[in-house]
Amino acid sequence: MNLDSLYQEIILDHYKKPLGSGLQDNFSGEAFHVNTSCGDEVTVRVLLDGNQILNMTHEGVGCSISRASASVLHALTKEETTETFHVLLDNFVDLMHSQGKVVPDEEVLGDAAAFAGVSKYPARVKCALLPWMAMKDAIEGAGNE
């Protein structure tokens, strides 16, 4: 297995220059998630208008995979609906649990498709999912399910 399949250029770019980093003051829902095995943490805030996601921001400490995942998530969900988020989430969760056997749909997942290599490393799947699960809870917390 080649390490570069895990650390795709896209992932390292997002890690170095994360999008949506820094929490917005105005938000409808918030969630804080911790990866108990390593102590990585992320706080996600979502600003919603009905089922419309106006903005998602995040802050936390974590590895390149979890930080890049939050950054990608910000870009993917900006001005999308919560329904679209759930479609993306299902798609991404399936990809993460595929053990490298699924070819990601780049049309749907955009930059998140670059995380396909993560699914070959079971210990890292949690890192990639951390911000996604936090965002799911933040949306639920906003009462807009």
Binding site: M1, L3, L6, Y7, L12, K16, S37, C38, G39, D40, E41, V61, G62, C63, S64, I65, Y121, R124, C127
Partner: protein, 423 residues
């Protein structure tokens, strides 16, 4: 040139010929988490099942006798290895269970004393008492005491870790109200070794019991619990070449007699009626139910293996490797070592941060070169917070590691900041 110890022993450990991700030679630097097993240990466990398997202390048939004899011979061997009598050794499933056994037994004593059983007044603790632990404990030696403090109202106090990563044994923390002092013999993060004799001296002055977490010490150097004078000590078998599923607990005569049992059930009783039960007064009081017999036998084979190599030889070898690793890492830019940077009162492992690269990414990169290290908070989250680290990577060494392993590790470590473009 003579072979180094690791090269000499490598063939005894079949797993060390594993190819990582199908290509790289394995450099196993995670022995502080669990050690690998020599063939003799694997064979001992297997042989027990093929030739002597039966439950112990219950059956009159021949296999029952053979199994009981093997189990008790193992107890004797393991006990002598740490300077204690076999009667003071209790088998558990791991060190965590050993520490919990003591904490819960004290809680039981407290409850029994409250219900009017005067035998337990001495052990009972309450709001006027304190439990002293240290800032460098593993969760296994924090959480049970936090719980005991919470439910009894006792105060939980911490001995601090100083700037250099060594324990500051501040005598003012020890007072007449101190009932329990629970400390690690060697930090699983910092590598620093505790001056147990000093702790015992201060604890004895105030009449407190000393509970020692010996997980990182027993595998690495000669330990004599009687000589150290601790009241109790817990350690795990799997970190000292033994199988998983078996841990050890030493209780001195006083605690062995006074502590009420923790787990209740078969084998630990003296008499049972529908109304009430009485318990064994010896170490059997703490071994309820069927034990991990084959694993105990395997652990005894591990002790034989360690004795054959010689604990002093192992200790010296691991110190050499640790010293070489420290030296290499100190000369590398962007590496921060957690814990002492010299070998004074410090053993066998090096935890570190790589500037700009998360420990998960560090360990993933090392894994791609065949090097297995641990990344995370190593079950010492409060200590990491104190040190200002979310997590760290940890390389730990044991008898089967070679100088070449350290070189491979250092060469890989040196490439990480380039790979993640933070150099």
């Amino acid at each position: 040139m003579t072979l180094d110890l690791g090269q000499e022993l490598k063939d005894d450990f079949p797993i060390l010929s594993h190819k990582v991700r199908g290509v790289s030679d394995l450099v196993y630097l995670d022995s502080a988490a669990t050690s690998q097993k020599p063939k003799v240990v694997i064979a001992a466990e297997s042989n027990f099942y093929t030739s002597t398997n039966a439950t112990v202390h219950r059956s009159g048939h021949e296999l029952g006798e053979l199994a009981s004899a093997a189990y008790e011979a193992a107890r004797e061997n393991i006990a002598r290895f740490v300077g204690i009598e076999p009667g003071n050794l209790i088998f558990t499933k791991n060190a965590t269970e050993g520490i919990n056994l003591v904490a819960y037994a004290v809680l039981n004593a407290t409850l029994l004393a409250k219900s009017g059983d005067k035998r337990y007044n001495k052990l009972a603790i309450g709001a006027e008492d304190s439990i002293v632990i240290t800032e460098m404990e593993h969760h296994a030696n924090i959480v049970p005491w936090q719980h005991l403090a919470q439910v009894t109202g006792a105060r939980l106090e911490y001995l601090k870790v100083d700037e250099s990563g060594r324990l500051d044994i501040d005598e003012s923390k020890f007072s007449k109200s101190t009932k329990i002092v629970a400390i690690t013999h060697q930090s699983n993060v910092l590598g620093s070794v505790t001056d147990v004799a000093k702790i015992v001296r201060f604890a004895n002055k105030v009449g407190a019991m000393v509970v020692l977490d010996a997980c990182q010490s027993v595998p690495h150097f000669n330990v004599d619990f009687k000589l150290l004078g601790v009241s109790a000590a817990a350690w795990s078998g799997h970190k000292m070449l033994g199988p998983t599923g078996v841990g050890c607990l030493y209780l001195n005569d006083e605690l062995l007699g006074e502590l009420p049992p923790f787990l209740l059930g078969g084998n630990m009783i003296e008499n049972v009626t529908y109304e009430s039960s009485t318990f064994r007064s010896d170490n059997a009081k703490f071994e309820a139910g069927t034990m991990n017999i084959a694993q105990v036998v395997g652990l005894s084979a591990a002790v034989d293996y360690l004795k054959n190599v010689g604990m002093n030889v192992i200790h010296e070898h691991v110190r050499e490797l640790t010293g070489a690793a420290l030296k290499g890492m100190l000369s590398m830019p962007g590496i921060r070592i957690l814990g002492p940077t010299d070998l004074t009162d410090r053993e066998g492992l090096v935890s570190f941060e790589v500037d700009g690269v998360h420990p998960h990414d560090v360990s993933q990169f090392l894994d791609s070169k065949g090097v297995a290290v641990r990344a995370g908070h190593h079950c010492a989250w409060p200590l990491h917070r104190k040190l200002g680290a979310v997590a760290s990577s940890r390389a730990s060494f044991y008898l089967y590691n070679t100088k070449e392993d350290v070189d491979v590790f250092l060469a890989a470590l040196d490439q990480i900041r380039d790979y993640f473009k933070v150099a």
